[in-house]
Amino acid sequence: MPDGASALQLVFGGDPGLYRIVALSLYVSVAAVLLAALVALPFGAFLALVKFPGRTFVVVVINAFMGLPPVVVGLAVYLLLSRSGPLGFLGILFTPHAMIVAQALLVIPIIAALTRQTIEDLWTEYREELTALRVSPARRVGTLIWDARFSLVTTLLAGFGRAAAEVGTVMIVGGNIEGFTRTMTTAIALETSKGDLPLAMGLGLVLVTIVIGVNAIAWGARRVGELRAG
């Protein structure tokens, strides 16, 4: 990206460097949320529906992990993926794949905790009816998740917000490599440290706009869905 150019000039001038950074940010955070959802939605539903010894403890821990510091997660994943670490043979350190995995770990507690709450509340409402219909426990999970789908979209958005906003994790495991692992947040950090504050601020505004945009689209989709499904 040209030094000293204002962010607005970059956006409207169609700077390919900026687009690459934006595209990578979205790719990493969206993929991270989807990956996290794959694990956390069923797990959250499981926590909501199954009573097992130590359940309260697990719920407390998951809730607490919603506030995991991103740098801590980044550091832990870095040590795992380093060539000298146990998963070094994967060779994915300093690549977007590592960033996706690390952000997914960051986001899993949020999705799991919020899913648990949502499903637990819904189960209170549905319990008698589903039991009377003799629905098997396995089928219950799917039914509750599907009926809670709109609230769960909001949950996924919360996860996306956390992922898109953080810089500690992706900086450590991605390395902020230009054109390869540089995201909006790491670019902002870099430009700030280079003293180009106007550019950093401009990038910040672009990031906020994008996150608002994603939320607006999801909200719209939710409204349309609710109108159609009651």
Binding site: E128, A132, R149, A229, G230
Partner: protein
């Protein structure tokens, strides 16, 4: 040699009680409900009618005594229940019925919707149906299980007279087709319209049991008489 078909009737309560904390919701219930005409559970609010239904539906276990279905300890699962405020799944009316059916069978879904008069609303999201329509959909769902016994817990308590009539008509129709109806209501008129026999409860105890004509014309207990007069039975 033909094996006798498995049946959940008669439905029998042997000294059954449900105690929550220090309160006996139902105490020492001894009751047998045979096949045949609808059995109406009658009584003021809080008399234990809903609890009796839930015990019969095996939604909850008694804290004392026991329940048998066709002389067995577990029901055969041809039981279905309709609640006062049914929970509609977040999908269309037809999809709700299909869900209860548990398999893909469009023909059967249509049949069931027809039976409760909801065919024109098959594609409507269930949550956007009126109270009466939702109750009829709940009936269709219950019938999808092809039940031998159908339990209903004050199904028309929140409905207007027109919707109430529509629901009662379906219930009468279902009873006529051979399904055993066990229904709770606190409304005398409804009991008169639908009953075969009456089970009268008050304060968690079985007070009187009789065929409809006997109960309405010649009640044996003071509480039943008071209830029929319209007094509050405390």
């Amino acid at each position: 040699m033909m094996r006798a078909p498995i049946t959940d009737l008669p439905l029998a309560f042997e000294n059954a009680s449900l105690r929550i904390g220090s309160v006996d919701i139902l105490a020492g219930l001894n009751l047998e409900i045979p096949a045949g005409a609808p059995t109406i559970l009658l009584g003021p609010n809080g008399s234990g009618k809903s609890t009796l239904l839930r015990l019969a539906m095996n939604l909850v276990r008694p804290t004392a005594g026991r329940i048998t279905w066709g002389r067995r300890n577990h029901p055969d699962e041809r039981l279905a229940m309709v609640f006062q405020r049914p929970v509609m799944l977040r999908r269309t009316a037809a999809a709700n019925v299909a869900y209860a059916l548990g398999r893909r069978d469009e023909r059967r879904v249509t049949e069931l919707l027809d039976r409760v008069g909801l065919s024109p609303l098959a594609a409507r999201p269930a949550r956007r149906l009126s109270g009466g329509e939702q109750q009829r959909l709940a009936l269709a769902r219950a019938l999808a299980r092809d039940p031998e016994i159908l339990f209903l817990d004050e199904p028309t308590a929140s409905l207007d007279p027109a919707a109430t009539k529509a629901v009662e008509d379906i219930i009468a129709n279902v009873a006529a087709s051979g399904v055993k109806i066990v229904m709770a209501t606190h409304e005398l008129g409804q009991a008169r319209r639908l009953a075969g026999d009456i089970v009268f409860l008050a304060r968690g105890r079985l007070v009187e049991r009789a065929v409809a004509a006997t109960f309405f014309n010649a009640p044996k207990t003071a509480e039943a008489a008071a209830f029929l007069r319209g007094d509050l039975v405390i």
